[in-house]
């Protein structure tokens, strides 16, 4: 059975069992990729993974199941399994949507040209990238990660009320992670490109950028402990904002896992900060016309506007609980339960350059690397994390820094944002946040 046949069979089975309300999500993806090490293709991978997951609401009681086998027996068993689960779950007050016409927008998630890319293309690019990485800087000591690949996938969302939406997408990627050394000091620099425009896959440029990211930190030393202004580089600010996306989800608020409870229409951040969720931007990975529960998405949801919290993001369950319309932010994989997510999280560009932000205080740290995220909690807002970057004095770079930590709280940090730059990073990402100046951050060194 192919994806559509499997979905249609499950819909029929659901009806046959007399299930009053159910929806399903099915995906089928093919990946091919290679890894290169020291001029050799050391790893080649091809895969075909697919699955279908069902959520049934039996007298409002939810039950979940999924299957990676697309045989009639396995899919029928899956429906029965989901029904069995409804005997023990608590009722869920929600209603599945009916089909609605979707806007005629090409999100540019599929490029037929990528389907022609084969192992020969990957081999040539991978070897060129490996060679360029070794030659990118005389301090390159090792290149443990060079990879090239592509993914093509189809997904399908359907429900018992007639929603039946199929979409396809593909993406190619390549990148390198290299180690540069100076004496006993080693630093890693990585740079990856992904997307559907392979003219951007320039091995020399990718290798140079990776080498730069490593070498700029080679002479790093700690700073004295104290309170500093910092600038999150535009590769880092998306990581921070990405880690703290769940407080904006209504289900987090409803379940006591967000400090933004009761803050709607209140000032929660500096007046220069806005956070939008934008779902219709072509060629952005998070764009979608319909969410995973069959709700059409909006082009823009203003979550934070000029520092004021304007909206939470809702899925079917949380919107029903708050008595509002769902906002199209339901997300689900075939093997999981429904949750909430930004489609694309966008912080609008500011007007200053990064250099201007770095000149705004006599002592400033440009953060170019975060070390892990274990000390960050989206529930408490705690941020306690190792950082690396460049120390600026009077707007001029002094030296690289490492072996220091940053300790603050995300919800306090929002109020301390003093500047936003006019540039995003070039990564293919669903989170776009420019460089960001934040004052009064505790640094330990």
């Amino acid at each position: 059975m192919n994806l559509e046949q499997a979905a249609s069979f499950v819909l029929e089975e659901g009806k046959r069992y007399g299930i009053d309300s159910f929806d399903l999500i099915a995906t089928d993806s093919e990946d091919i990729g290679i890894e290169v090490f020291k001029g050799r293709i050391t790893s080649t991978e091809t895969s075909r993974s697919r699955g279908v997951g069902i959520r049934v609401l039996n007298n409002s009681r939810p039950g979940y199941s999924y299957s990676e086998r697309f045989s009639k027996d396995a899919l029928s068993q899956m429906v029965r399994d989901a029904m069995d689960q409804t005997e023990i779950t608590d009722p869920l007050d929600m209603e599945l949507p009916s089909p609605k016409e979707l806007p005629n927008i090409d999100l540019k998630h599929f490029n037929p040209e990528l389907e022609k890319l084969d192992f020969a293309w990957m081999r040539e690019l991978g070897l060129a990238l490996d060679e360029a990485s070794w030659n990118s800087d005389k301090r390159v000591e090792n290149v443990p990660h060079v990879g090239v690949g592509k993914t093509s996938s189809q997904s399908l969302i359907a429900n018992s009320k007639g929603v039946f939406v199929r979409k396809e997408s593909n993406v190619a990627y390549c990148g390198t992670g290299l180690v540069v050394a100076s004496g006993d000091v080693k630093k890693m620099g990585s740079y990856y490109r992904s997307g559907r425009d392979i003219s951007l896959f320039d091995p020399k440029y990718i290798a140079k950028e990776a080498a730069h990211r490593g070498t700029e930190l080679l002479d790093a030393r700690p700073l004295p402990s104290g309170v500093y202004s910092i600038v999150f580089g535009n590769r880092i600010s998306p990581q921070i904002f990405g880690m703290f996306s769940s407080p904006y989800f209504a289900d987090s608020v409803q379940k006591g896992s967000s400090r933004l409870v009761g803050k709607l229409e209140k000032e929660i951040a500096s007046s220069i900060l806005s956070i939008h969720c934008e779902a219709h931007i072509p060629d952005y990975p998070g764009s979608r016309l319909i969410d995973s529960e069959g709700i059409p998405t909006s082009a823009q949801t203003k979550v934070v506007e000029k520092g004021v919290l304007k909206s939470f993001l809702y899925n079917l369950e949380s919107s029903k609980k708050d008595g509002v319309l769902p906002t199209g932010h339901g997300v689900r994989s075939y093997s999981g339960r429904a949750g909430t997510s930004f489609s694309n999280m966008i912080v609008p560009l500011g007007e200053k350059s990064r250099e201007e932000l770095l000149s705004s205080d006599s002592h400033c740290i440009l953060i170019q690397k975060l070390e892990g995220g274990a000390g960050c909690s989206a529930v408490s807002g705690e941020i306690s994390i190792g950082i690396q970057g460049i120390y600026y004095k009077n707007g001029k770079p002094e030296h690289a820094v490492d072996r220091i930590t940053m300790n603050t709280n995300y919800f306090d940090l929002l109020h301390k944002i003093g500047g936003i730059s006019n540039e995003y990073s070039d990564s293919y990402s669903s989170i776009k946040v420019p460089d960001m100046l934040v004052s009064e951050i505790h640094i330990a060194g």
């Binding site: 080649t44 091809t46 396995a74 005997e87 070390e371």
Partner: protein, 460 residues
């Protein structure tokens, strides 16, 4: 998959000049039930199924996986892989499975979770929620889940190996959120074991829930430690996550073969003080990282890593062994059929020493007692690690003083290792999940309480 099809597939790989061909078939039945907001919000039972095919040419790995067990489709994947190298066809005799054959099933102690109705776990979840909330009215949220997975694995290879293994694992997860004046703190517990439903039957749920609730409440009022370098006494059990991340990963041949580890070429050298001995052991009964055979079909073993401070061994899989010359240690592991196996840890721990907590504390004027660690990570290539401290206390004049929150530890594994100067007697293991290139796998970490002379502690 029937043996005849396996032989056909291995034969096809051999005909495309592969030095080694492996078929890995896996079917998992997993179930989980989750309570949050005092409601059973999810109950799931499902089946994962797939086949992984690995061809090795020299030490180059070609891997394909699929959920489709149709023989023609599987043969097409083998040809696709071989074509990617431009390998031609060779003539070879028909392959027959004639090597070692083993079939493992559950021990009589295992209470097969597939035969247990989901409602049997309900009481467990509700008890945990009730006990945790009873701790204080400041407990605003409790999340509890109980999950188990039963996996049938078949591994066959061109050396004639044919192994079938039936595996079971169970895990309990509890998180408790306390809130006061907008401040929130989350404490969690997550025991797991290579056990069936008997794991849940003997789980001290009330104790776990009370402990997490009290910790969340207690840490809510904790202050911050001044960030700087200082001596750190690390608590036992999950404290072993630092050794796992900062030293364990760089001792895997996956890192060694790529010269991406500070421990390359250090076998036989003193890399730590003589008080430190460490093992990676896949044989400990019922532990979450225990395996009968690894995912290449090799029986597991206990591997000595460090003895009295001297580096004694690495953890090796087939490819790592071929590239480095290190004998295989039964450490080839993968999350599922969707990953080729690489060298990974199992139950990794620092062995018990001779020091007491009192003597460790007495040696510190000002420092941190990191009683419970959160998560962390390491970059094996540079050795840089970072860890969060979930429950910490200031040590002042040899005594445990006020609690502190939001502390992190950062440093380099190979630099911290020589700084472990005292090792306690209270060895404990704790379940965890380890993520790396072959996916997320169940492991345990462990250690006794120990003292590190100096680590950078992030604070305010």
């Amino acid at each position: 998959m029937n043996p005849s099809n396996i032989e056909t597939l291995i034969d096809a790989g051999k005909k495309r000049k592969a030095d080694f061909v492996e078929i890995y078939e896996e079917e998992s039945r997993n179930s989980s039930i989750a309570l949050r907001d005092q409601k059973i919000e999810q109950s799931l039972a499902a089946t994962d199924y797939g086949i992984g095919i690995r061809l090795i040419y020299g030490t180059d790995v070609l891997y394909a996986y699929t959920s489709n067990d149709d023989l023609e489709h599987l043969l097409s994947l083998i040809n696709l892989l071989a074509d990617s190298r431009g390998e031609g066809a060779a003539s070879s005799g028909a392959f027959t499975l004639a090597g070692s054959s083993s079939k493992y099933s559950f021990s009589p102690r295992v209470h097969d979770p597939r035969k247990v109705a989901p409602f049997r776990k309900l009481e467990l979840l509700q008890t945990a929620d009730h006990i945790a909330r009873k701790v204080s009215s400041k407990i605003v949220q409790v999340g509890v889940s109980a999950s188990d997975i039963v996996t049938n694995v078949l591994i066959a290879n061109s050396e004639g190996l044919f192994v079938e293994d039936l595996r079971v694992r169970s895990r309990f997860y509890l998180s408790v959120t306390a809130e006061k004046s907008g401040e929130r703190f989350v404490a969690s517990e997550s025991p797991g074991a290579v056990k069936g439903f008997e794991f849940f039957e003997s789980l001290p749920v009330e104790e776990l829930a009370r402990s997490a609730g009290e910790r969340a409440l207690f840490m809510l009022d904790a202050g911050y430690i001044e960030g700087k370098k200082m001596p750190v006494i690390m608590g036992n059990g999950f404290g072993g996550v630092i050794f796992h991340e900062a030293c364990g990963h760089p001792l895997e041949t996956e890192a060694i073969r790529k010269k991406s580890s500070p421990f390359v070429g250090k076998l036989g050298e003193q890399i730590a003080q003589s008080c430190l001995t460490a093992y990676d052991d896949g044989t400990i009964e019922d532990q979450y990282g225990t395996i009968r055979v690894d995912d290449e079909g090799m029986p597991t073993q206990r591997t000595l890593l460090i003895q009295n401070g001297v580096l004694k061994g690495y953890l090796s899989d087939r490819v790592g062994s071929l590239e480095t010359g290190v004998p295989r240690t039964g450490s080839g592991r993968r999350e599922s059929y969707q990953y080729a196996p690489v060298s990974r840890m199992r139950n990794t721990y620092i062995a018990a020493g001779n020091d007491t907590m009192d003597s460790m504390l007495a040696s510190v004027d000002f420092g941190l007692y990191a009683k419970r660690m959160g998560g962390g990570s390491v970059n094996p290539a540079t050795g840089e690690f970072n860890f969060a401290v979930e429950e910490g206390y200031v040590i002042r004049n040899g005594k445990i003083a006020e609690p502190v929150r939001g502390a992190t530890l950062i440093g380099k594994g190979h630099e911290i290792l020589p700084g472990i100067s005292m090792v306690g007697k209270d060895l404990e293991l704790a379940a965890g999940t380890c993520g790396a290139s072959s996916g997320s796998i169940p492991v345990t970490v462990g250690q006794p309480s120990l003292k590190v002379d100096e680590i950078l502690v992030g604070g305010r």
